[in-house]
């Protein structure tokens, strides 16, 4: 009897959390999975379609366009945004740098305002003729076409640019924190051994910040896969010319709330969630392998 009471105690303490977790996380997840197997017109009108939504998704050219665009945006985030964030962190981590606090705040500030604000800001900047970029370039180089259509010809590059402005400073803070934990003794030892700046970075700093770099990479991948507000606002709730700005989240939203096909939107959501889960597991596996080495 006593043993039973002891076993119940932790569950009693956990009960409030578990109740909320089940109600607001587990049940919606379960419900969305059921929804992914149905076609609905509201909960009152449903038709069981089994795996049809998933089968359709695999052959849906729009889904694959969205996946390719999301992949491009993710690669842009990883190979443009993160190196710039690391570069800024390395610059700001240099001893004796004056105005360090000012620069940190300046680079970090864009991330305080939120993506919708960034999108609202970049929309006029990227406009034809009157946009800041085209107007400036045309004034500096009259050969530059003021009608250059950033949001038509280079949709993904424009989105990457806008995201870069916002997130480079944000990721810089993580890298900066990691850099400040790199042992100065190790750096000095490498210096005494004759290692140049690149060798010190490659063989001392990089291994030391690898766990944080892995974490930031994972965050960037997840954030990029979930990118929505930026394209939604910059492209005025469209997918852009020839769907060049269509991302997976945008397609999910359009399927669920523009077309009203909640079942298909749920199927897209599950595919996205499983993909991200796979990426996270791969990242964990790769991090472990790296540590073991």
């Amino acid at each position: 009897m006593k043993a039973t009471r002891l076993n119940l105690a932790p569950w009693l303490f956990l009960a409030p959390f578990l109740g909320i977790f089940c109600l607001f996380t587990v049940w919606p997840l379960l419900r969305s999975f059921i929804l992914a197997l149905q076609q609905t017109y509201g909960p009152g009108t449903t038709e069981w379609v089994g795996l049809h939504n998933f089968r359709y998704l695999l052959t849906d050219p729009l889904f694959w366009t969205a996946a390719a665009n999301t992949g491009r945006f993710t690669l842009g985030s990883l190979f443009v945004q993160l190196p710039i964030a690391l570069g800024l962190a390395l610059l700001l981590n240099r001893p004796g740098l004056r105005g360090r606090g000012f620069f940190r705040l300046t680079f970090f500030a864009p991330s305080l305002v939120g993506l919708p604000f960034v999108a609202m800001l970049f929309a006029p900047i990227l406009e034809k003729r009157t946009g800041l970029i085209n107007a400036t370039l045309h004034r500096l180089f009259p050969i530059w076409d003021p009608e250059f259509a950033w949001m038509q010809e280079y949709v993904m590059s424009s989105l990457i640019l806008a995201a870069l402005w916002m997130y480079a400073g944000f990721n810089m803070v993580y890298f900066l924190a990691a850099l400040q934990n790199v042992s100065k003794d190790l750096i000095e030892a490498a210096e005494i051994d004759g290692a140049n700046a690149w060798q010190r970075f490659r063989h001392v700093t990089l291994p030391e910040i690898a766990p944080i770099a892995g974490f930031v990479t994972l965050l960037s991948v997840i954030g990029s896969f979930q990118m929505f507000e930026l394209s939604y606002i910059l492209l005025n709730n469209t997918a852009g010319p020839e769907n060049r700005g269509l991302t997976i989240m945008m397609y999910l939203y359009q399927s669920g709330f523009v077309v009203g096909d909640l079942g298909y939107a749920s199927a897209i959501g599950w595919v996205l969630a499983l993909t991200l889960m796979g990426i996270a597991l791969f990242q964990r596996w790769a991090a472990r392998r790296y540590e073991e080495r």
């Binding site: 076609q39 609905t40 017109y41 509201g42 909960p43 009152g44 009108t45 038709e47 379609v49 359709y56 050219p61 729009l62 006029p124 406009e127 034809k128 003729r129 009157t130 009259p142 076409d145 003021p146 009608e147 259509a149 038509q152 469209t238 997918a239 852009g240 010319p241 020839e242 769907n243 709330f257 523009v258 077309v259 009203g260 096909d261 298909y264």
Partner: protein, 462 residues
């Protein structure tokens, strides 16, 4: 007291104490604040000019009918769409009377006919002779599978607004223009490079392959269609390919005459004011919005019927639309219907709506009102109301479908793809482009049909 302070200090840090106090104060304020209780039958409206125009009518109605008042509620368009569809699909509270725009209304038709959230008005309209009273094509977007679910608010014919100051200063007479070909030929001398950078500083028509406004208007004018009379996709209709091909000859290549101007933004208004473009396709509601948002254009513009696609062809088109629908679960249909008829058939409201928004009524009997003949200073003294009304009976029919927005997206994507093809191959002749346009539309049609056929509810309908 000391004991209480000790206890508080023991369990709560100063920060937690501040949070607790703020929470308690906020709860008290929320609890004691007076609550606005809305009395009357709710009517959701998403267009502010409509809301403002209806207010005096609702007040007057409520004075005459204190036992069955109407409560006008202004909602943001997206909020109304979400609340309306949630109400129809999931049974959450929804207003008895709803005034959605054409795109939102059509979304209610995606399910089985018996699940459409709007009340079927077909029999009421027929019995009361309203099908003859109201302009026929205006019902089409609110009709699904032969049943009518909305009372049309408008007709929304489209005219061409052109910069009369520039055109007349150049001594050009627009009365000789009948077709688009005439329009571009006659006005071509106005496309000049005033800055010497090798690019024209003035174009002849506001239309672009990435902005659906003008292409969709021209498509309907030319007799093209996205959805056919049976509410099935018709993207690869041969006339659509012809429209795509000709639009590209206007928008690309050495003889380009069109320009991309943001339809609603401040920079778009500025560029129109600066004379970057001579002509724009302007539905009646847009004329009203230009008057409010770009008053400096006043006196510089004139209206004319849209140049025809081909000789003897239609001189107008249609864009936008709003309807009045009733929730199928309303318990106050008689009152709501009586109010709706009074509102939409009222000559006073029709005149006020025209004064405030430039929108002409769909009630054909009211088209004789002298208000439509009054000179409009914004359009250089022309009677803009009469000009729109002259074209109103000729607006093309738009069969409804919950997929009309998706269809338009696919059409615009085909237009953008054709533009890319033209630039890549340096092909800018209509006949040569038409083959590729048809191929693109055939491809889009297959994908669109597959997309629509996913809807098992529509597929089950006879």
């Amino acid at each position: 007291m000391k004991l209480l302070r000790d206890q508080i200090n023991r369990y709560l840090s100063p920060g937690a104490l501040v949070i607790l106090i703020i929470a308690i104060v906020a709860i008290i304020i929320a609890a004691v604040l007076p609550r606005r209780t809305a009395e009357g039958i709710p009517m959701w409206i998403s267009a502010e000019p409509h809301f403002n125009a209806y207010k005096p009518f609702a007040r007057e109605w409520n004075r005459r009918h204190p036992d069955r008042p109407i409560n006008l509620v202004l909602l943001h368009g997206t909020a109304m769409e979400r609340r309306m569809l949630s109400g129809f699909m999931a049974g959450t509270p929804v207003a008895d009377i709803i005034e959605p725009n054409i795109g939102v209304a059509a979304k209610a038709f995606a399910g089985p006919l018996e699940s459409v959230g709007f009340l079927d008005l077909t029999d009421h309209l027929r019995e009361e002779g309203l099908l003859e009273t109201i302009n026929g094509p205006s019902f089409a977007p609110y009709t699904s599978r032969g049943r009518i679910f909305g009372l049309p608010h408008d007709v929304h014919p489209v005219l061409l607004a052109y910069r009369a100051d520039i055109v007349e200063a150049a001594g050009i007479d627009v009365s000789q223009i009948e077709t688009w070909e005439d329009y571009f030929r006659v006005l071509r001398p106005l496309m000049v490079d005033t800055t010497g950078d090798g690019r024209p500083n003035r174009y002849l028509l506001e239309a672009w392959h990435t902005n659906p406004h003008a292409p969709s208007i021209i498509l309907l004018q030319a007799g093209g269609r996205l959805i056919d009379e049976n509410e099935r996709p018709a993207l690869n209709f041969p006339r659509n390919a012809e429209v795509l091909a000709r639009l590209i000859t206007w928008m690309a290549g050495p003889d380009r005459v069109c320009v991309d101007i943001e339809t609603y933004s401040a920079s778009g208004h500025r560029q129109r004011l600066e004379g970057l473009v001579i002509g724009s396709l302007v539905p009646d509601w847009m004329a009203g919005s230009w008057k409010r948002e770009n008053p400096a254009l006043g006196g510089k513009l004139k209206l004319m019927p849209i140049p025809a696609w081909e000789k003897g062809g239609r001189r107008t088109s249609v864009a936008g639309g709003t309807m009045l629908g009733f929730s199928r679960n309303t318990e106050h249909f008689e009152t709501a219907w009586a109010f709706a008829k009074e509102l939409y058939l009222s000559p006073v409201l029709a005149e006020q709506m025209f004064r405030d928004t430039n929108i002409i009524t769909p009630v054909t009997a009211l088209w004789d009102s002298p208000i439509f003949d009054q000179p409009d200073p914004f359009f250089s003294g022309q009677p803009s109301g009469r000009l729109y009304i002259e074209q109103a009976p000729h607006v093309p029919r738009r069969p409804s479908s919950p997929y009309v927005v998706s269809g338009l997206e696919r059409f615009i994507n085909a237009l953008a793809a054709l533009r890319r093809y033209a630039d890549r191959n340096q092909i800018y002749e209509e006949a040569a482009l038409r083959i590729e346009a048809q191929r693109l539309l055939d491809e889009a049609q297959v994908e669109f049909e597959r997309f629509i056929n996913r809807n098992v509810f529509l597929a089950q309908e006879p």
